[in-house]
Amino acid sequence: MIKKISMNAIQSLWLPFALVAAWWVFSANSEDPFFPPLSVIWDQFVFLWVFDNVPIHVVPSLINLFSGFSIGVLIGLVGGVIIGTNQGLARYIEPSVDFIRSIPPVATVPIFIMIFGLSYEMRVAAIAFSAIFPTMLAVIQGMHSNNPTLLDTAKVFRLTPFQTLVRVRIPAAGPIIFSGIQVSLQVAFVVTIASELLGSGFGIGAFTLIATDTFMITDAWTGVILMGTLGFLVNVIFNLVERRVLRWYLASKKLS
């Protein structure tokens, strides 16, 4: 058993290590100004990000990300439930939603800059706006695909419409809703970075942009690596939360 697990671990981990090692070795004597040796990038990374600049650049980015994301998802959930339970309303609203969601989220950032200027509110508003739609559409879709037997059963048990909604329809749509929230999170992350790249003094995106503009190439690499790692970690945390909330669903899938 233990042997099997460690075999699996080796099989799934050797390549990432090998890739990093290859990068380290092949870049060791690099003279190319755009691709400094990984050892140099690493030293600079430790110098910059453990942990001197974290409160200045990383913390504001993360606060923006989470406040925007939470506001957007909340609006998306409420809006989705209202539209999802109301067939007539859905027909009027869906074309507009369809249109707005076809706009690349990053392209809305200049609009928010026009309205709010380069402020904290602009960032949170842009992040929240882009996080609304994936969640909202997933809620609508999830509630439309509710199993009819489930709804009939709820009727037989004489649940009130409100009880049916909260206890049956929304939980049954949970897996779809969660995949929508995950897309919201990824979009929110992109917009967070974009709102910083398009002009501001702080934030990881802004730091990296300034480094690029001033040809501090090693600094720019550390920024890129930091942003990539954060993007990855945010997803990992989300998956852990999802597994906890949806454990009834995962367990039922295992049984069947």
Binding site: S12, S102, V106, I111, I113, I193, L197, G228, G231, F232
Partner: protein, 237 residues
């Protein structure tokens, strides 16, 4: 849709947003009409579509065969999965600063970003599709004495097509998005760059009109691909 436009107009003329820099619906739409006679808008639309489509084509041509190969070998799939998982969730926007340094604000930079955005997802999707085959079907093939090649050609690849089709649908949408981002943030010649120009020179109507063009382009591309998909994986509906 009309109601939404009305709400927008009322909101900007009388509501809380009036007097701000947000243009009203009427002025944005009339500016849209003015923009459509400008040649540079059509050039920018063409450049954006060029970046999106060439990038899409390269990532499809490279990503799907690579994914099929990876999916055929359990060892390769298990080894590559963490790498694919990692790159799949990393948005291309984070590598823009480095990519600008290497390519400069060019069309090639945009195409590279589009390929980076789609490649790993397509590899994953095709590899997963090739592996996800009904075991009864596999046993049946064995009973008929099919060779490995016949199994791949007649069962595994057709079986993977629905997964690949989903991957390509995501890729179509993200190619357009990344082409816009490449212009807006990376400065590649495209509609995104045009938009930034309007925004930074304080022309809110034009900026807004371009956002509307983005929405229309995204919708049109999604519709076109839905038609193509219905022809290729006709048995799924």
């Amino acid at each position: 849709m009309l109601g939404f436009m009305l709400l927008w107009q009322l909101g900007t003329s009388f509501g809380p947003l009036s007097g701000g820099s947000l243009p009203s619906a009427v002025s944005a739409v009339s500016t849209l009409g003015e923009l459509f006679v400008l040649p540079e808008i059509w050039v920018a639309i063409g450049q954006t579509l060029f970046i999106a489509l060439v990038g899409l084509l390269i990532s499809v041509v490279l990503g799907i065969p690579a994914g099929v190969l990876v999916g055929l070998s359990p060892f390769a799939f298990r080894s590559l999965k963490p790498v694919l998982d990692f790159f799949k969730v990393i948005p291309p926007i984070v590598i823009i600063p480095i990519v600008i340094l290497v390519f400069g604000p060019t069309t090639e930079m945009g195409i590279f970003l589009v390929v980076f955005a789609n490649f790993f997802m397509l590899v994953f999707q095709s590899a997963y599709g090739v592996r996800d085959l009904d075991s009864v079907l596999l046993d049946t093939l064995k009973c008929y004495g099919m060779t490995k090649w016949e199994e791949i050609w007649y069962a595994r690849i057709p079986g993977a097509l629905p997964f690949i089709a989903v991957g390509v649908r995501i890729a179509v949408a993200s190619s357009m998005i990344v082409a816009v981002v490449a212009g807006l943030i990376g400065g590649a010649p495209s509609l995104g760059q045009q938009m930034l120009l309007y925004q930074s020179s304080g022309q809110p109507n034009q900026t807004f009109a371009i956002v509307i063009i983005f929405g229309v382009l995204g919708l049109v591309l999604a519709r076109i691909y839905a038609q193509i998909q219905r022809k290729i994986v006709f048995w799924t509906n």
